[in-house]
């Protein structure tokens, strides 16, 4: 029986519990990648072997599926004697992949600032530090917000894959409930609404930031 109120009353708390894990994973991944993307992007933009290394890393993580990376971390590392929990391996794989994407976003933002901005700053006699903090970086930040928002949305959606390595996120909870109750419509609607809410929140936050930083455009 779809839309049985008593079933829904039991379903909602269970799904919300899973959603908590999803939110935790997403927020942790976003925070780690926002920081971790920076050194990768910097390494990529200097000349020498470091750039080669960073470029190789970015291509590797961007051109292999997240699911395979999760299996590699979860099953592979435990075989190699470093057993990680499902949550930790999911987080590690999510961070590995998304750091590559975020680094490319940073690099694109930095490259999009016109060379004339650097020259103008130097012509005004600015020190390097002043030039970067007052002229260049505000523009970079304003420009990377929209792609970062998209990345945040895709991180939220990617976290669903941790269900494959037995993490009790909202996806896994839903799978268990569908299999045990056969009430597919209710569970599907619940999961869809939860993910839509989370991704909408992320895009709303991105829009707010964007408006805040509109001065730098």
């Amino acid at each position: 029986m779809p839309f049985d109120p008593r079933f829904i009353a039991r379903l909602i708390p269970a799904l919300l519990e899973g959603a908590e894990v999803t939110v935790e994973l997403s927020l942790l991944t976003m925070a780690i990648c926002l920081v971790g993307g920076l050194p990768v992007a910097l390494a990529r933009s200097v000349r020498g072997p470091l750039a080669w290394l960073a470029g190789g890393y970015i291509q590797l993580v961007r051109n292999t599926p997240l699911l395979i990376q999760m299996y590699l971390v979860y099953f592979g590392l435990s075989m190699a004697g470093i057993p990680l929990s499902g949550f930790a391996s999911g987080l590690l794989a999510l961070c590995l992949q998304n750091c590559g994407y975020v680094a490319e976003i940073y690099r694109g933002g930095l490259q999009s600032v016109s060379l004339r901005q650097f020259e103008a700053g130097k012509a005004l006699g600015m020190r390097r530090w002043t030039l970067y903090t007052t002229v260049i970086l505000p523009q970079v930040v304003a420009r990377v917000i929209p792609p970062l928002t998209n990345q945040a949305i895709s991180i939220i959606k990617d976290t669903a894959q941790v269900a494959a390595i037995a993490v009790m996120d909202v996806m896994k909870v839903a799978q268990i409930w569908v299999e045990s109750s056969a009430n597919t419509y209710d569970v599907f609607l619940g999961v869809a609404i939860i993910y839509l809410c989370l991704t909408s929140l992320a895009s709303l936050a991105g829009k707010l930031f964007e408006r805040r930083l509109a001065f730098a455009q």
């Binding site: 590797l60 599926p65 699911l67 395979i68 099953f75 569908v178 419509y185 869809a192």
Partner: protein, 217 residues
């Protein structure tokens, strides 16, 4: 080199899986592209009601993880009485999902043409259909080709998710070998390598296209 013996023994099986992955992605990319172009046109030229319908579709598709859609199609399709082989069910979900992203790419391509192109075509007395056919489409498709190829890379990576709903392709093949040989690290590394070959080749082609778009035609 006994460590990699399982991989060497299973490489033919993995290669067949990779073939299936390519087949699946190839089967999905055609309807996804057609639907994507249609959605983009509807969103630009459609009536208000059609436009909001497209926006609602994009909102739902972009806000829900592919894994959720795949899993629930797997459970729901038998309930609706539609008798579709699993392969085509999965291809349908993949193409409906990627159509949403394709439409964004094509819409951006069409809208990024300068207004002068439209004005010039109109001043020559062209009807909308002719204008689209010989002025707008050829240029917009060229602009849209690099992000389109990137989406194809994502599509190949996304096919790994169908292993969770039990379809056989590269990820499933590697999981089967792992269950037999208990060598997750080597096998998943091999699978990742195969995915990398497919995706990186495509990504290189995308970069080539991008350079061509940037530096004139």
């Amino acid at each position: 080199m006994n460590t990699f013996a399982p991989l060497i023994k299973g490489y033919w099986y993995l290669l067949r899986g990779a073939g299936m992955t390519l087949l699946m992605a190839g089967a999905a990319v055609v309807p996804a592209t057609i639907c994507g172009i249609l959605l983009a046109l509807l969103q630009i030229f459609g009536t208000r009601a059609l436009r909001s319908a497209v926006v609602a579709y994009l909102f739902v598709m972009r806000g829900i993880p592919l894994l959720v859609l795949l899993t629930f199609t797997y459970y729901l399709l038998p309930l609706t009485g539609i008798d579709l082989p699993a392969f085509w069910g999965v291809v349908m979900v993949l193409s409906l999902y990627y159509a949403a992203f394709m439409s964004e790419v094509f819409r951006a391509g069409i809208l990024s043409l300068p207004q002068a192109q439209w004005d010039a075509a109109r001043s020559l007395g062209m009807r909308r259909r002719l204008m689209l056919q010989i002025v707008i489409f050829p240029q917009a498709l060229r602009l849209a080709s690099p992000p389109f190829v990137n989406l194809c890379v994502n599509l190949i990576k996304a096919t790994s998710l169908v292993s969770i709903v039990g379809l056989w392709e590269l990820t499933m093949a590697s999981r089967e070998i792992v269950e037999r040989t208990l060598a997750p690290f080597q096998i998943f590394l091999g699978a990742a390598g195969l995915y990398f070959c497919m995706c990186y080749a495509l990504a290189l082609y995308g970069r080539h296209l991008e350079r061509r778009v940037l530096h004139g035609h």
